[in-house]
Amino acid sequence: MTKLLKNGRQWVALICAGLTASLIVQPALSDENAELSIDGVEIVTKTAAPEDHPLDEILSGWRFRSVETQALQTDDFDNPGFTAVDYGAELWDTAEGSSGKSCASCHGAAEDSMKGLRASMPKWHEGEGTLMTLEDHINWSRKEHQGAEPWKWESSEMLAMTAYLGLQSRGMAVDVKVDGPAAEWFDKGKDLYYTRVGQLDMACSNCHEDNYGNMIRADHLSQGQINGFPTYRLKWQGLGSIHRRFSGCMKNIRAVPYKRGSDEFTALELYLAWRGAGLSVETPAVRQ
């Protein structure tokens, strides 16, 4: 039991404590038919895949989580990600950098100006001539508009701001542009998705395309969708970025991860966003 707790499987351990050890015990399974609605807003967690899509149907990671974890996301008062959202709202109104301006000085209410942004990320930036994630856009605006230092990728400020901005798109369908200058990035991301890495010699597709729905030891494999990020993970005891999750999956298969914010992870992010097209943005989601 102590070992289980150390592994960060508190939930599973607690649930299993009451069961006899002589059985091949499976952890508490999710209710795969449950529907998600938050404060009366319907969240699409299952949608038909378009014809050229590798999956038959597109499913949010929420569907694969235990009933207890699922419940945490149905009410913003229970959702532990909201501490960071509140901090993000505070940062939105805080003057910073040589301009002495806050985000709000230029953009007004985030509820209006930032609505829909998360759902379209990552996207091509005309000025910089490159594909940019939400984190990149935030740091670009800090530099260009505020004259402020960039935030580190996994800093509490960046996580708070991406959570706060992401929330403004909650319930909206993920819809990224993959044509034009983004096409090259899309192809690269797809390539990375199917490339076997690490000593365990696995590609993302082995787990998240070929085996979603199956248990891999105590973990219920999902499609590895990114519509809920930054996500509050019970194991992390905090929010984490999309690129942190990619990094974790690569380390688990004994591969050297790419850097957060690298072209590789940005390309992979675009490809994964496309694989989840039509799912609602769930930011901030809760996962084990």
Binding site: A21, T195, Q199, I216
Partner: protein, 154 residues
């Protein structure tokens, strides 16, 4: 980029070498013919008791991640990515089981998710710590094979 990675990986493998113990078949010289590896990698029989532990150990075989196995019912959480291994010895010979554990791709095809436990044919960007190393040693492979041979239903 990928090409240069594969190249540096190849060099690393050659330099640090996979120096086999005397009498042990090195991973890059194992011969898998008709989905079989005929002889023991170490020249000796494996120890089924040790194999049972290697099978369950998350840092070694971690076979339970993907396979349910009634013989290890005292362990929590058996995966369902691969078939249940109850009765595996009724379905496969020792030579076939050895080939499956050494490099499952030679038996199930390139698309299988099951890792090769004694092969140098790995993915790109292997973590430094594991470069040029196989997941299991020759002895551990033989122990696991000996253990699998005890999984009989008939």
């Amino acid at each position: 980029m990928t090409k240069s990675l594969i190249y540096s990986l190849a060099v690393a493998t050659m330099t640090f070498g996979l120096t086999a113990q005397a009498g042990t078949v090195a991973p890059d010289t194992v011969e898998i013919v008709d989905m079989e590896v005929k002889a023991s990698l170490t020249g000796a029989a494996g120890d089924p008791g040790a194999g049972r532990e290697t099978f369950a150990d998350r840092k070694k075989g971690n076979c339970l991640a993907c396979h349910a196995n009634a013989d290890l019912s005292e362990q929590l959480f058996h995966g369902e990515v691969g078939p249940e291994l109850n009765g595996a010895a009724d379905r496969w010979s020792a030579e076939q089981l050895r080939a499956i554990v050494i490099n499952s791709k030679e038996v199930f095809g390139d698309q299988t998710i099951m890792p090769g436990f004694y092969t140098t044919d790995l993915g790109v960007r292997v973590t430094d710590k594991f470069q040029g190393k196989t997941i299991l040693s020759a002895q551990e492979v033989e122990d696991v094979v000996a253990y699998l041979l005890t999984l009989k239903e008939n």
